[in-house]
């Protein structure tokens, strides 16, 4: 009897949820469109699929991380925030939340996501901007591929590494701190690693974007970069080092805005974004590491890798460590 009641309850809930979904979609259609501000790349296929599947137009504005907060807050304070939905690294959305830019919304589509991915009732995490070691598989012999982060300090990598500038690239700074807190046993070991890495004179570039090209062309052999480039830059001879230690990255987050011009369309878009279909596209087409259960990018061995989210660092911490890394890495 209990089982029957439970089944009935689940059925009723499902019917109600479906009815709610339908009502939300109808309202979204009436609103006409959803505007999406994001810093994530190559998401046009999802935007297109959303429009085709729901009949609601989606508009995508790409804003780089360094301009995200300035743009969103300027528009918000002037009463002209055009975004219905915002997507950015978690610390950016935390800043927007503090300013009252975000609205509460718990998407039913996030039901299967890990518990820690639902930060609160405003911010939903859906992926990790994972960082690893990518190398030129035509130039690096299999036996030489690093198996631990410490291998990057070996003299054979002198002048062969490219990485984003550790003095100012927030994700790289967070990643280095992530190593301290999640990988190395002591701060002394971590500092020894940093000094060894610095002694190998890595070439610094402004962000992750320019890191794969020198590795592809053979100008450098290995990069501290994102394994997703193996997908987006195929058939470039790139592979990732399967380390015995975890991969780490800043969580990617999404939220609805508090003064969204199209609130129903915003919620419909977030539901669609978090659906398995969208996350599949994000993983397969863009190589992103997503939190939807069972979805992985088509990179050999990545489904077995341990990928962890780095603790959220405040801006003060990032600036403090950026200054410290500037000294260690002799960034002029």
């Amino acid at each position: 009897m209990k089982k029957l009641l439970l089944a009935l309850f689940v059925l009723c809930a499902a019917v109600q949820a479906q009815a709610q979904d339908k009502a939300l979609l109808e309202r979204a259609k009436a609103e006409g469109k959803a505007s999406f501000y994001a810093n994530i790349t190559a998401v046009e296929p999802i935007i297109k699929a959303f429009t085709e599947d729901t009949g609601v137009k989606a508009e995508y504005t790409r804003i780089s991380t360094s301009k995200f907060v300035a743009t969103a807050i300027t528009e918000f304070e002037a009463g002209k925030l055009m975004a219905d939905v915002v997507q950015a690294p978690l610390p950016v959305l935390e800043l927007l939340k503090e300013k009252g830019v975000l609205a509460s919304y718990r998407s039913p589509a996030a039901a299967g996501y890990p518990d820690w991915a639902s930060k609160d009732d405003k911010i939903q995490l859906f992926g990790i901007e994972y960082v690893g070691l990518i190398y030129n598989k035509e130039k690096v012999k299999p036996g030489d591929v690093p198996t631990r982060y410490e291998d990057l300090t070996l003299p054979k990598w002198k002048n062969q590494i490219v990485m984003a500038n550790p003095a100012n690239h927030a994700t790289t700074i967070s990643w280095l701190i992530g190593l301290k807190e999640n990988v190395f046993k002591s701060e002394a070991d971590w500092r020894k690693f940093l000094q060894g890495l610095a002694a190998n004179k890595p070439m610094f570039v402004s962000s992750f974007g320019p890191t794969p090209a020198p590795v592809e062309s053979g100008e450098k052999l290995i990069a501290i970069s994102m394994p997703k480039y193996i997908v987006t830059k195929a058939p470039a001879p790139l592979d990732w080092a399967r380390l015995s230690q975890p991969l780490m990255g800043t969580p990617r987050a999404i939220a609805v805005t508090s003064k969204a011009p199209h609130p129903a369309a915003a919620r419909a878009f977030v539901d669609y974004w978090l659906s398995k279909k969208s996350m599949d596209m994000l993983a397969k087409d863009v190589g992103e590491y997503v939190l939807a259960p069972g979805v992985f990018p088509p990179i050999d061995g990545i489904s077995k890798a341990k990928v962890i989210a780095i603790r959220e660092l405040s801006d003060e911490e990032i600036q403090k460590w950026g200054a410290e890394f500037k000294k260690i890495f002799d960034v002029k």
């Binding site: 790349t41 190559a42 046009e44 508009e59 995508y60 504005t61 790409r62 780089s64 991380t65 360094s66 301009k67 995200f68 907060v69 300035a70 743009t71 807050i73 300027t74 528009e75 304070e77 002037a78 002209k80 055009m82 690294p89 610390p91 950016v92 800043l95 002048n159 003095a167 100012n168 690239h169 927030a170 700074i173 070439m203 610094f204 570039v205 402004s206 962000s207 992750f208 974007g209 320019p210 890191t211 794969p212 090209a213 020198p214 592809e216 062309s217 053979g218 100008e219 450098k220 987006t232 830059k233 058939p235 470039a236 801006d315 990032i318 600036q319 950026g322 002799d330 960034v331 002029k332």
Partner: protein
């Protein structure tokens, strides 16, 4: 007459002020405001923090060397090329003109990346070739150095200098040089003692514009300076705003204010140095004809030298772009690389609706923006040169306001301004922002041309009963055609590849080429980036050819 000139001056001050003052004012407010926007509680904290940074001294030393070096290089090269092209009988002049303008049409980011592919110490193509040819162990050149930065920035600023110097060179009064020769001076002595001094306003204008431009430049410091660990002001500002997520543009604006002050000082110095403009008049009522100097035996060697220079400095980086657009990923040229070539990046780019829309928008902004910008520049340059009052000095300084501000920050100033208006997120915001920021590109070539036109011409027209407007239309403008063409070309090709404002102001429906290119760069998609870059060069080249042809048709004879 004086009354109508004064009215015109104040009208122009109002127009130019509206285009340039507000974004800078917003940045000024932001630099004194707590928080992340222009309107916060008053504080001087950002100035204290920005100017007590211990690395600032090193940064300023590098910046000084970088801007002086690159400006000197661009000015000297432009002088050399402009002299050969306009004053001598060197062959293939038209081709040389296009070549000297090409760096202006290439997105600066791409041009810098091409040079890194040619001269990086690990596997730069020129270094590899030289190592092989000369059996060297180490690469002879390292692009990732201050010298590499000066070379690439100097080449990027070459077109600006060329387009300012060439029109002045073209409207040179032969009588001055002939008098020198009659007095027994040779070609070189005449060039050094007569030609160069008379061209002083144009040369100084080119040099100063180069200084201001390289001070605001970000692509070269980022692509070449950062890997070479040579920090300059632009990368220092980038570090300031990039470290952390709550980007404080107000603090960057605080540093930017010094750049602005330096630029305004340079303009004042320039005005003082060219104050006695009558000295530089070469087109008077006696008629003029620019002389063509026969190079004689030096014709072929000079042609070869310029051809080689153009090949190494300009054609090679463009060829690298073409090559990159055809190979599947970044590869050193080899038999395998050539076997893998395809048009995939091209078809991806040309089949992408956003790329096509940005192409359309950029073309519109290039043609319409440059036309309106040049129209405004004619009046502004006229007042700056011919009305020597304090108000005209103010107008000149105003025209440089947005232009002088580091590119990385001025876009935010425009966003803070336009968001208060109904123009925000429209193509008109981009159009007005472009004109306001790049006004000096129109004004400078026009003022160097105005300086050379004697006021007797104008006075004769007025005495004969023509109104000031008719005088401008019938007498002045036809003589200004080389300057107008230069200004239009500079503005149009700048607008086609403009990034700093566009990246902040562009929204769905108003995408432009440079923003699309930046997206590809951020994703590391160099193939698509190069393909779209070449499309951009194609558009700019067509605009340059069209402008030159139209200019030739209406040129005064």
């Amino acid at each position: 007459m004086d009354h109508s000139r004064s009215k015109l001056t104040w009208l122009l001050i109002a127009i130019v002020g509206a285009l340039t003052v507000f974004p800078v004012l917003m940045l000024l407010l932001g630099s004194f405001s707590e928080g992340l926007t222009a309107f916060g509680k008053f504080t001087v904290h950002k100035y204290v923090e920005a100017y007590t940074d211990p690395v600032l001294f090193d940064v300023l030393a590098n910046t000084t060397l970088f801007v002086l070096g690159s400006s000197l290089l661009s000015t000297v090269l432009a002088l050399f090329l402009a002299y050969l092209n306009t004053r001598t009988d060197i062959p293939f002049k038209f081709l040389f003109k296009i070549i000297s303008l090409i760096p202006m049409m290439i997105p600066h980011l791409l041009f810098a990346v091409s040079w890194a592919l040619l001269l990086n110490p690990s596997n730069g193509l020129i270094n590899l070739a030289l190592k092989q040819a000369l059996s060297l162990e180490d690469a002879p050149f390292n692009i990732y150095s201050i010298w590499g930065m000066i070379l690439v920035e100097g080449l990027l600023d070459l077109p600006i200098a060329y387009l300012i110097i060439a029109p002045a060179m073209a409207s040179f009064d032969v009588a001055l040089e002939e008098s020198s020769r009659v007095c027994g001076a040779g070609t070189m002595r005449t060039f050094a003692r007569v030609t160069l001094p008379v061209l002083r306003p144009a040369i100084l204008a080119a040099f100063i514009l180069g200084l201001v431009r390289s001070l605001a430049s970000f692509a070269v410091p980022s692509v070449i300076g950062m890997p070479g660990r040579v920090p300059v002001l632009a990368t220092h500002l980038y570090e300031m705003i990039a470290t952390g997520f709550a980007t404080d543009y107000g603090k960057a604006a605080a540093v930017g204010m010094s750049v602005l002050a330096a630029s305004v000082t340079l303009i004042v110095v320039y005005r003082a140095l060219t104050a006695e403009s009558e000295k530089f008049v070469t087109v008077s009522s006696r008629g003029f004809r620019p002389a063509v100097i026969g190079l004689g035996k030096a014709r072929t060697p000079l042609f070869c030298a310029v051809a080689l220079l153009s090949l190494v400095l300009i054609v090679l980086p463009v060829a690298v772009l073409l090559y990159t657009s055809l190979v599947p990923y970044s590869m050193v040229p080899s038999a395998r690389a050539f076997s893998l070539m395809s048009w995939k990046h091209w078809s991806d780019v040309l089949g992408d609706p956003i790329s096509l829309l940005s192409l359309k928008n950029s073309l519109f902004l290039g043609v319409v923006g440059a036309t309106l910008g040049v129209l405004l520049s004619i009046f502004v340059a006229y007042v700056i040169v011919k009305v020597k009052t304090r108000a005209s000095g103010l107008l000149e300084s105003l025209s440089y306001l947005s232009f002088s501000f580091p590119g990385i920050v001025i876009g935010i100033g425009f966003m803070w301004f336009f968001v208060q208006t109904p123009l925000y997120a429209t193509i008109w915001a981009l159009l007005l922002g472009y004109i306001g920021t790049y006004l000096p590109y129109g004004i400078r070539p026009m003022s160097s041309a105005f300086i050379q036109i004697h006021s007797h011409l104008e006075e004769s027209s007025l005495v004969c009963g023509a109104s000031p407007l008719t005088t401008l239309r019938r007498i002045i403008v036809p003589l200004l055609i080389p300057g107008i063409v230069s200004g239009w070309i500079l503005m149009a090709s700048m607008f086609v590849r403009e990034l700093t404002l566009s990246v902040v102001l562009s929204r769905p429906g108003t995408e432009v080429l440079a923003v699309q290119i930046l997206r590809f760069a951020e994703d590391g998609l160099w193939g698509k980036l190069s393909a779209l870059g070449i499309v951009m060069i194609g558009i700019s080249t067509s605009l340059v050819i069209a402008a030159t042809l139209v200019g030739n048709r209406f040129r005064a004879v």
